[in-house]
């Protein structure tokens, strides 16, 4: 701890700015210097000699990007700077360490710190790298525009500029200078005042503007709880204050960065001069990759390669997993011969269900491998920049493209990758349209229908065309959906797409593998547990009730068939009278307009947890046994021969061209994936939007399938 007379100086900055290196240079203490964000997680302090005989206590605070105190590290920083950390004196001066090569992003924290009202020194570190890049920074101009606070260029690892930092701290200690606070729009200011007034009335505590900002802009209520500001009035007041922010034309969650960045852009005007340096190479490459015509072509090529790689490379490990699942089923099944119900639960339910889910793991791994490489190389930022031009008209921005593209492999990683979109509304709009992308689980449905009906009736050319068409259908509906959602429902204000283009660099294998591992572990451990439980419940609904009389009735109806031949028919009869089967018969009138009989209806209903289930469900309902594959000749034949046994279509084929097209379009548009609905709920922070998405997609699928069936059945 410090002596009462000793002044305290806090070192604050974004991770990776060389803050710890500067701390070492200023104090002489040895400390591990990390390359990754968040390396300074503990309190570190040392004595710094300012060169004029003054010695100060220098505290190295954890690296952070903003004052939104969510993590414990960020909480420590806000506590220390506001003088609320137990046993820690409030600093006399704050030294903000910024990366000289990335000024705009780094100065956001400095601009936020101005709200706390402490004297500041601004250190622009990594000046050597900036010089290599040909950047010339006018420190005098920055200082002039930031209230004459000292601005020092340093290269801490070389020891350059460290003496100037000592002098600047000494100067500010003697004569404090403050970075001017940002000018907030009047409505937002009124929001701060209302919050301050309410907290004071309820808790008798006076809070600062900085604390009021945290209460208004942050979602977490840690500060509110700590202040003892609670009760229903709090929520109502925050809602009103956020409405006022909206009236100023800002999204409450994006207002703070937008206001700060508006100010910082003006501060940095004319401050940076780019000369010739290593960045010249980056600029040269960008001239090609960001070119209006060449850029999008290159980008489409990269994305096609990524999509094809995910789709095709994953095919082999997915097949291997499927073979492993089949082998496990065959191995485990004899263990439960004496308990057939348990055998079905273990083999059809647990192994089949979880195995089908795990089969997506290779796609997840390969997708994140390529996405990590593209991100770490610096290309993904360029891709987002290019796509912003195309997506901005329907309210989405460039960052929406990667999740949508991922959705073509599987909606779950697509939804997970919406996390890269900062604006919550844009993230929500993107997450809403991701499930429209034609994921690989729809493929077996299309394959079955095309191989059984389109190919034999119209030839392989039409078969391929329909397959491609089905992959485009989702996109055709996703774009207008996004337009309506962003313009009329979420009312997303066109947001500037603030994006700093990083330097191109070789991705580090360790980082890429780490990210793959993180995503794989999260996929298996978290979603996998939910899938596991849901699978068991769905199995129970399609298995029960199981009356022995059903089997006896089937045996009586087919006295000449062997037990082996009877087994699938008994299975079909059980499915028909299961809770799911009964539900299917009850619901069938709803799907009658789409041309679906009760068996297709059961397949459609059973496919809501996972759409690929329809293949084996149709196999069961058409008495061919479970596990039927898309290329099963028997299933195709049975479907081709299936006829209506009642109603006005008596004797006509169930699977007409109209029914087949309606069924495929229904699967292309319907939200038939339990994990997707769960992930959407997780990513959107609640069940509301997951429920809206599910309802909207299901109704849309029904409407489009009905229209298609009614139109095509009149022509054919």
């Amino acid at each position: 701890m410090t002596s009462p007379a000793q002044r305290v100086v806090a070192l604050v900055g974004n991770p990776n700015t060389g803050k710890s290196t500067l701390f070492n240079a200023l104090t002489g203490l040895r400390q591990r210097v990390g390359n990754y964000p968040g390396v300074t997680v503990a309190r570190k302090s040392g004595v710094c000699d300012l060169g004029d005989g003054t010695r100060v206590e220098l505290v190295d605070l954890p690296g952070l990007y903003s004052l939104s105190a969510v993590s414990p590290d960020e909480q420590v920083v806000t506590d220390v700077l506001s003088g609320q950390a137990a046993g820690e004196p409030r600093p006399d001066v704050v030294v903000v360490v910024a990366d000289a090569t990335n000024l705009l992003r780094n100065l956001f924290l400095a601009s936020q710190l101005a709200e706390i009202g402490l004297p500041l020194v601004l250190v622009l570190n990594q000046a050597d790298v900036a010089k290599e890049q040909g950047l010339k920074i006018d420190t005098n101009l920055i200082s002039q525009r930031l209230g004459q606070i000292p601005v020092v260029l340093t290269s801490a690892w070389k020891g350059e500029g460290v003496l100037e930092v000592r002098r600047a701290i000494a100067k500010v200690l003697k004569q404090p200078v403050y970075l001017p606070r940002v000018v907030w729009p009047e409505k937002i200011r009124q929001g701060f005042e209302a919050i301050k007034h309410s907290v004071e009335q309820q808790t008798k505590k006076v809070i600062t503007d900085a604390e009021a900002q945290r209460l208004l802009f942050d979602n977490n209520l840690v500060l509110a709880e700590r202040l003892g500001w609670a009760g229903p009035d709090r929520e109502a007041l925050l809602r009103r204050a956020r409405d006022q922010v909206r009236q100023s034309g800002y999204n409450p969650h994006a207002a703070e960065p937008l206001v700060h960045y508006d100010r910082l852009k003006k501060v940095l005007e004319g401050v940076l001069k780019e000369g010739r340096g290593k960045s010249g190479r980056t600029a040269l490459v960008d001239q090609v990759l960001l070119h209006r015509i060449v850029g999008p072509i290159f980008f489409i090529g990269i994305m096609l390669g990524l999509f094809a790689s995910v789709f095709w490379l994953a095919k082999f490990p997915m097949n291997a997993i499927q073979l492993g699942v089949d082998w496990l089923k065959l191995t485990v099944a004899p263990w439960f011969e004496t308990t057939p119900m348990l055998q079905s639960l273990v083999t059809d339910g647990i192994i089949g269900g979880v195995g089908a889910f795990l089969a997506f793991l290779p796609q997840i791994l390969i997708l994140f491998l390529f996405v990590s490489i593209l991100e770490d190389s610096g290309y993904m930022a360029r891709a987002a920049f290019i796509m912003d031009r195309l997506f901005s008209w329907c309210g989405l921005n460039g960052k929406s493209f990667v999740p949508m593209l991922s959705g073509f492999a599987c909606a779950i990683p697509g939804l997970m990758s919406t996390r890269t979109i900062e604006d919550p509304k844009a993230r929500l709009a993107t997450a809403f349209v991701v499930p429209f992308m034609s994921c690989s689980a729809r493929f077996p449905v299309y394959a079955l229908m095309c191989a059984a009906f389109i190919g034999p009736l119209y030839g392989p050319g039409w078969e391929s065309a329909v397959m491609v068409g089905m992959h485009v259908v989702g996109l055709l509906f996703a774009v207008p959906t996004a337009f309506i959602l962003t313009r009329f429902v979420l009312k997303i204000r066109p947001q500037p797409f603030v994006l700093e283009l990083p330097r191109y660099q070789m991705p580090k294998p360790r980082d890429v593998l780490w990210r793959m591992w993180q995503n794989a572990a999260e996929f298996v451990s978290k979603a996998g547990t939910v899938i596991f439980a849901i699978t068991i419940i769905v199995w129970a609904l399609t298995y029960f009730p199981r009356q022995p009389e059903v089997a006896q009735q089937v045996r009586a109806a087919y006295p000449t068939l062997s037990e082996e031949e009877l087994a699938p028919k008994i299975q079909g009869a059980y499915t028909e009278q299961s809770y799911m089967g009964r539900f299917g018969k009850t619901i069938q009138p709803v799907f009658n307009a789409c041309g679906f009989d009760w068996k297709i209806t059961v397949g459609v209903l059973a496919s809501f947890p996972a759409r690929e289930v329809i293949v084996s469900t149709l196999g069961v309902t058409y008495s061919l046994g479970e596990g039927a594959k898309a290329d099963s000749e028997h299933l195709r034949k049975a479907m081709q021969e299936a006829k209506w046994t009642e109603g006005p279509r008596l004797g006509k084929p169930i699977f007409s061209l109209a029914t087949v097209l309606a069924l495929m379009v229904f699967f292309a548009l319907c939200s038939q994936c339990g994990p997707t609905v769960v992930t959407l709920a997780q990513e959107s922070g609640g069940w509301k939007w997951a429920a809206i998405s599910f309802t909207y997609m299901t109704i849309l699928a029904w409407v489009v399938a009905t229209i298609l069936y009614q139109v095509v059945s009149r022509w054919t």
Binding site: G38, M341, K526
Partner: protein, 50 residues
């Protein structure tokens, strides 16, 4: 349906799965309410970690 070991085990498994799912969702909802996020969404709160 006769009550035998088979159905008892299956009922137990289905019951545990259902109970676990309900408990899991309630825990996540509670965490979301108290911490602002369920802690597994990888939101900006995790930006500083790696």
């Amino acid at each position: 349906m006769d009550l035998n070991l088979d159905i008892i085990i299956v009922a137990a498994i289905v019951g545990v799965a259902f109970g676990w799912l309900v408990r899991y969702w309630i825990a996540k909802a509670r965490r979301r309410k108290t911490h602002g996020c369920a802690g597994d969404c990888g939101c900006s709160s995790k930006l500083g970690k790696k």
